[in-house]
Symmetry: C3
Subunit: 315 residues, 3 copies
């Protein structure tokens, strides 16, 4: 305490981090390497590896078993596969930012109080959301960069108008030509492509706004309600926009088309599983009676408690 | 005051927000939802709706009256229309960030003093500039994302070299072909396209720098003159670069071509109206005598006042 | 001192900037225009001008001497030349962020101590790294924006699959056709293009992360080791990724192809010179004995000194 006083007298702000026994931990502080990032990075990396193997199986293994040639799609691993996998990883990760809050809401509704601790795994998950969101933003950014350069009617035919085929004398070498059918692609988006690209750009922009609001100096200028509004409302809009971006890409292939001997779901299908779970879990919470009851619990109400008013808390 | 002292003794910084009567307002603070953003969002949304209706009239209504088929361009609403409209909204909004400062300068020149209050609408407008600029940045970002994926010689022919047309036996179905003229587009930009894309990329980058300088922690590290330099000088360069980006897109169509039965201006034309007004208003202020006089007023000089020196203020 | 006390009593933080003689400098502070940016901007501008002249000589002068027509490539100056030049400027500048630290390490190894001052030019260079890095990020951003819109198999053939050539009756005007060989480009990337684009997107994303970690409020939340990890480890990964992006673009042209009468290196070749120097200088420092010795010096060890322990410093 004397030290604190002396420090304050010298015009600094003393910060008391505990007694002498804690000194070993405190000395390690400047050497700690982002302890809050280790687990989220591991989780996203796990999702990425899982989806990468799935994509590898669909596009390389399965396709080559079908053709029997074993020469297809190998060169597509560094970009095409990678881009699809990070896109799906990003969408899953974004959904995984909202699912723990939904589980927490159901636990609070079930227990009828906010004054009981969540299970440790849920607590850890809730604390991981900011990091998950920022990693997701990085993946979404890489996906956007690659995609705007990659997208052409030849490589992403689903979202463009029909190409034209014609017969031509193809030049094989200086003296030889051979009659062949060639394709001229149509660079106009079809109506699904128009929605697909708009949704993608809007989702990217919303995610960047979410990311900016996570910068310490920006967060500091936001009121509690403003931060919640951005992270929750805008975040949900971003999740749904990104999911629609995926839906407009696949559209009727979403139901008619299956990959790998028509057994496995295709990428745009399984990309939607976690966002779909999040939306399904969210919908009941939007019903006014459920919502009101949850707000009441979060204001401090306890079901079956006689002493509510005492524990009441304006927020 | 006693509370303040006690708080300070505890090592915190007391902040006095007024007496007991203000408590109701203060309690609302954490629940306020970005009060400074409501009006700018409404203004930009108004501009967007106005321009959206204009674009809808030009591309859908008017085009279909001309053709009489009522089947054209409907599918283009979600992307092509949207992209044009946000591009023009962004350029207008950027100009509207600079016009109020120009009006203020003329008022100061007219009144010969800086010690009189601006009319309330101008004051509100001046306070809105930061928000207008940031919304503009979001729109410009979406426009950039969409455009780099959208731009092809087929969809934006004005900025590319001439395509080649040839006669071909187009394949209709397995057994039928029909002779038709097909087009192979040339993916090389013409000289206007080269300027068009460079200007667009530079303007985007400058706007991002302007946005970064608005982050609280960055603003805090900038001196008054540095902040003014970035927001004013770089901002004007961004406005002019973005306007040139638009000029190089349309170029000779800027004067020769009119939309909708040759009566209405086309998008790249009316996009330039507010930037043009801003530039026209700015030019006289750049004349050295006018500029010097304005600087003098802003340093505290008052026309017709005998007590200038007393009110003199170094900035 | 009395002033300080009074200020503190009023609840503010006094900051003592020196005695009365310093007042003239202090009054200039709000008018200083980014003094730490002047030199880095000048350096990068110098590199840009040098590379611009080189590119102008290669693509315009030299090409037109060869053809003798003096009509080639002039229209490519605003975009194609500009884009290549800023890409190479960015890569050089990024390498120049890491080379001074390497020189400093060799000086420390040579002198066997960290307690001697670096030569002034090196000191200035070390202090310039942050600004160099941020300017580099701006250039890389413009390069990315332009490139994703510019890249097509016609304009960047090296990274795409082979096009198809065919003979066609080209329409010259309404009544005339002429037999000609036309090209249909293939929009699929070859394996080098897949790596090229992935590497580019990943490098961009890493550089943005580096830029974000330089924001004052973000830097403030990072421990010393975290900041070093991001700026050093991630920065090196970004440098190597960006260099690979360049290598995959040129690939076998990297060695077989020379510009300008087969005398001058081509852009993707000289782009690699500074990153190559940086890597060559870095490699010996990664050898465990050298690394350990350098760490020891940086912890305060002095070669040939008897009083090491006294000057020992935990970091």
């Amino acid at each position: 305490m004397k030290v604190s006083e002396m420090v304050r007298a010298m015009g600094f702000h003393p910060v008391d981090w505990g007694n002498l026994a804690a000194s070993r931990d405190i000395e390690d502080v400047p050497l700690r390497l982002m302890p809050s990032w280790k687990r989220p990075v591991a989780v996203v990396f796990g999702i990425f590896v899982f989806l990468w193997i799935l994509a590898f199986f669909s596009f390389q293994i399965c396709r080559n078993i079908q053709s029997g040639q074993w020469d297809e799609n190998w060169k597509r691993i560094p970009l095409t596969n990678f881009n699809r996998v990070i896109a799906i990883t990003a969408l899953w990760t974004l959904a995984f930012c909202y699912i723990p809050g939904l589980i927490a809401a159901y636990i609070q509704l079930w227990r009828g109080t906010k004054y009981s601790r969540f299970p440790k795994w849920l607590d850890d998950w809730l604390k991981m959301r900011k990091q998950l969101g920022l990693i997701m933003l990085g993946l979404a950014g890489i996906h956007a960069c690659i995609s705007v350069a990659y997208i052409t009617p030849q490589t992403t035919g689903w979202v463009y108008e029909e190409p034209t085929r014609f017969q031509a004398e193809v030049v094989v070498d200086a003296n030889t030509t051979t009659t062949n059918t060639l394709t001229i692609y149509n660079n106009e988006f079809n109506w699904r492509g128009e929605f697909f690209l708009s949704m993608g750009a809007i989702a990217t922009c919303l995610l960047v706004v979410l990311g900016i609001s996570s910068l310490p100096s920006v967060t500091a200028t936001l009121s509690w309600r403003e931060f919640t509004f951005i992270q929750s409302k805008l975040g949900w809009v971003a999740l749904i926009t990104a999911a629609c971006h995926d839906v407009f890409l696949a559209w009727h292939y979403m139901f008619l088309y299956w990959g790998c001997f028509r057994t496995l779901p295709i990428g745009p299908q399984y990309a939607l599983y976690p966002p779909f779970i999040a939306v399904i879990m969210k919908l009941p919470l939007l019903l006014p009676p459920v919502d009101n009851y949850l707000q009441k619990i979060r204001r401090g109400y306890e079901r079956g408690s006689q002493s509510e008013s005492k524990k009441g808390n304006p927020l």
